[in-house]
Symmetry: D2
Subunit: 340 residues, 4 copies
């Protein structure tokens, strides 16, 4: 094997073995059981009527950060099957809960100026969540500039928004574009929306993660090489993400894992078989993934057939929650009317 294909191998292995954009999955990967991990705090809430769970994972210190391979901060995951379905009443509840959680995390007041960033490629359906959400966000910053300060009673916050595109479209890193704009318009807060990859089909399109740690390199359905964080931009960055795909390599890998586990169970005390199963190494597994997915390997995604309709629903949920959080003086009905 030559160097370049070995590199590629390592990259793919790293990808399907370890990486997840969801703190809740990182937490599960450390140990499936609910044992405590030093430096990690987990709190779970339930909204029973729509079967919505809200899990807050706080990474408190370096030990916790190392364990989960994520920066120190708060990660809130909302999970609800109804999110991806055509269920407007449930969506209203999800929107209100998301707005509340965002409000807790972001601490917006009437003087906050916000820049919303819709990450991803609008021309690739499962990656278009960010751009589509942003196109339904109520932007208001130009109203202030145009007509002078509105009355304080209007309660409008100054919101601007950008869909920067992806590197293959712009020739620029998203970070460069956002930093340029941030330097110019100087917001107090950035909120970035992105489509994520999940390890599990269960979570696809039925999970929203929000975090106060920003967007990190290698996150998202596409690849980003430089993060959007308070450290890099000088402004706090809230990230909102929804897993919209599972990498096909992950599916294949999981299948093998499950099959091997099942075989071990059946083998019981037959140590020959158990030994053989245990001896089945990463390199062999990766060979098999390559065979099954040839000639695509790293570029095949698993999505449900109705992905177009689902992305539309999810981006409306996120846009509505942002509008409610950022424009508290408007009514729910006034907010939803801005959706297109």
């Amino acid at each position: 094997m030559n160097n370049s294909s070995e590199d590629k191998l390592n990259k793919v292995e790293e990808k399907y073995n370890v990486r997840t954009d969801l703190a809740i999955e990182a937490r599960e990967m450390v140990s499936e059981e609910e044992t405590e991990i030093k430096g990690i705090e987990v709190v779970v809430d339930e909204l029973e009527d729509i079967d919505l769970s809200v899990t807050r994972v706080n990474i408190l210190d370096d030990h916790g950060a190392k364990s989960l391979n994520k920066p120190i901060g708060s990660y809130i995951t909302m999970e609800c099957e109804l999110m991806k379905q055509n269920a407007p009443e449930a969506h209203e509840e999800i929107v209100r809960e998301l707005a509340k959680q965002l409000g807790d995390l972001a601490k917006v007041d009437k003087d906050t100026t916000v820049l919303i960033v819709g990450l991803g490629n609008r021309d690739v359906t499962p990656d278009s969540l960010g751009p589509r959400a942003v196109s339904n966000v109520l932007v208001t910053r130009h109203l202030f500039k145009e007509f002078g300060e509105p009355d304080e009673d209007d309660g409008l916050n100054k919101v601007s928004a950008i869909i920067p595109g992806v590197m293959g479209q712009t020739g620029m890193e998203t970070f460069e574009i956002i930093q340029g704009i941030v330097n110019k318009i100087k917001p107090n807060l950035i909120i970035a929306i992105d489509a994520l990859a999940s390890r599990r089909t269960t979570r696809v399109n039925s999970t929203i993660q929000i975090a106060d740690t920003g967007v990190h390199p290698g996150s998202g359905v596409g690849n980003r090489r430089k993060g959007l964080t308070e450290e890099s931009l000088g402004v706090p960055v809230i990230a909102i993400g929804v897993p919209t795909v599972v990498d096909a390599a992950t599916i294949v890998n999981d299948t093998m894992e499950e099959l091997l586990i099942e075989m071990k169970k059946q083998a019981k005390e037959n140590t020959d078989i158990v030994d053989m199963i245990n001896s089945f190494n990463e390199q062999e597994k990766y060979q098999l993934i390559k065979e099954v997915l040839y000639p695509y390997v790293g570029n095949l995604f698993v999505t449900p057939k109705e992905i177009d309709a689902v992305i539309k629903r999810l981006s409306n949920i996120i846009a509505s929650a942002l509008n409610i959080m950022l424009q508290p003086n408007l009514e729910f009905d006034e907010i939803t009317k801005f959706l297109s």
Copy 2:
């Protein structure tokens, strides 16, 4: 397990075990080696400069039909990696070859009146091949009606086209719509274009199958319950199909098969292990598929990320080949200019 879920199980099993829309894959499933099967004729050609292979599978009699689980007739499969890539020169060659093969199969002359049917759901990217191809086909039937018969020298054939939608959109079976139209406008030939499911990622978006046996129930990315065939419509039906997805359940199943084969190889003479592997039954495999793909099972597809761009290329190739075959007096450049 209750009856309804058992039914569902049987349906899924049937799906990932046996079914393929491609005769070439059905042929491979009978035996991977190139041994002869009674009632089946296979001829392979190569266009070396663009690495295009053309495989003609003729099913000659009932024995052959039973072996491949496909009706008697001719199935031509063109395979070329460049089909899905941005490679205009190669596409021109593919278009010309496809036009030639279609011409051989369809035997169109200047009096043939043709109805082109674009099957599938235009709002689901991998299922939109048929609708998109049809929207680039040069329709001419109304020109005859409007201005009287054009001069024979014009060489225009009478072509009409329809995008019928899918049953969930229309409340009608595609067959009902097409039969209604056929009874009214009485074409001599129907050409139906559809997105297919493949068993193998290798073939996804790099294979075109044309057949003179029509479209059969259960084919396509969506489901059709009644076929479009000469038998049901009273008019010969040529089917053009491209596999644009692999069912995620197929990927998982194939992974298990490959893993079990690999383990058998490693087990060598250890009969305990081989016995155990052999005892791993369909029911257990299906349970595992369900676990890996939960909660979706039958509704998850594997597609490459750039599916939008690829479907556009493939539908242009098919539309151009149809235009060349059906309007032989027009030049290639005149033909491609109708693409949008």
Copy 3:
């Protein structure tokens, strides 16, 4: 002037001089005042809270038909500025009123089987009203076929729907496609939705006309040559239309008319001027239209900039009203959730 351009001239003159798809405009063209016309009945209602007017023009006999150049029947016109705006509460009222008026006209009961037809070109924004409305209609006919008759209590009506495309896309007249399907599936009622041309910018996107007289040749933004009527199809046809454009030639013509009227007023008793104005004939006016709109003449439309968003709103209003009328056992919220 050669024959062909003379023909064209006549066609255009006919177009901008006389033709309107709206009975209410035809009525106004006969006399602006509210004098009575033999064979015509006009009743006007108002919903004051949203400033919605409902005008029912009944053409009772041949004299009335001749006066308005429209067939005998009922024409109901709903006018409301809020229709085209982002005003969800007003839209709910408009939807309910439209459903009521449609119900009065169509007299649907639980045994009615309905075919909805979305006329127009989905790729030309102002002509895409019909296709977009149809894609939000709840189709149910296949549910009956698949699972046997649902309980009567379900109250679902059998609804099917088709987007036939336009002649330039299909090579067939819309009439041929619809007649073929009607012969096959035999509905009791057809409802056809179409974008219309208005004479006045005032009515663009703020008027819905429903009529029990079907769709007539030459109506719509595109051109249809054969009508969809009870006479031609053997099934009652309700037409729903919204004027989405004004022909640019109409705007130019109206400008000239208004200017000439204004000049006459200013001229007062100066008979020389009045004579000259009166002598300004149709031919001269048409020359001027040609000069102003060169090189387009008959193919230029006047639309508001936000036409995309407006067409979406209008098609949702129509689809919702149809869903309410056709599925009376569903709640309003259940109905709106089918909108995409």
Copy 4:
């Protein structure tokens, strides 16, 4: 009349009376005849085989700038009816000529780094020219960053591109976004593409203007309040514009003008009539425009029906010409293959 509506009136009057984005129209407005104007140089070329004219208007000094109400600089206008038609061979010639003219104006060499800006609203068809052109431009800047400097022989120029959106979508002025990005990535040259308004239907979709003076406030189909110019951005700005609409108010105004001129001709020596016509003032004309276009006035556009297809062609022409100019070492066929 209150102040605010008077303001509005002045704005509209200003708009339909004086403003045009095209230097060639500004030139014509000064005097229809080809007399010389001090400070203005006009050179006209013809490519006869495709009936393409190239007019270069050089504004040489302040006097010229004042006469045409445009800044000092070079304005090149290419006019050709085939531009908007489906005519691939003619488009190839137009592309090559546009590339040549752009090259003369921009003086790009292998060290030039370019930022392409696609102005306008991608969701409003006639305003989407800039965004669509940019999505077909070959961006290369990230290739340099990723793999180190390519060989000089590759001849790739460093190109980046951005679609900033419009103020109603972003809450920011386009100028703010572009200045932020320019400060960050420091290109040597900016090329901005925009849809323009024309005074004449003749020029709609069959004219391309390029200028070395940048984009000025109030240009374009939408409104921009701060220009993109070398003065404001510190980098030379080439503007590429195509008139894609005529304001409906312009059409109405022109109609009145033409009618009045025609009447004067007919009136001959009848001084009463001529006096009356001359006395018809701007205020009266504006009242009439308002009546004809009520309730829209400033927001109604005249577009041809096939605007979608035409914008696609025009944006492909512009993108191809940019790719040829910016990547001189690539062949024409390689360039066009990047079009989607």
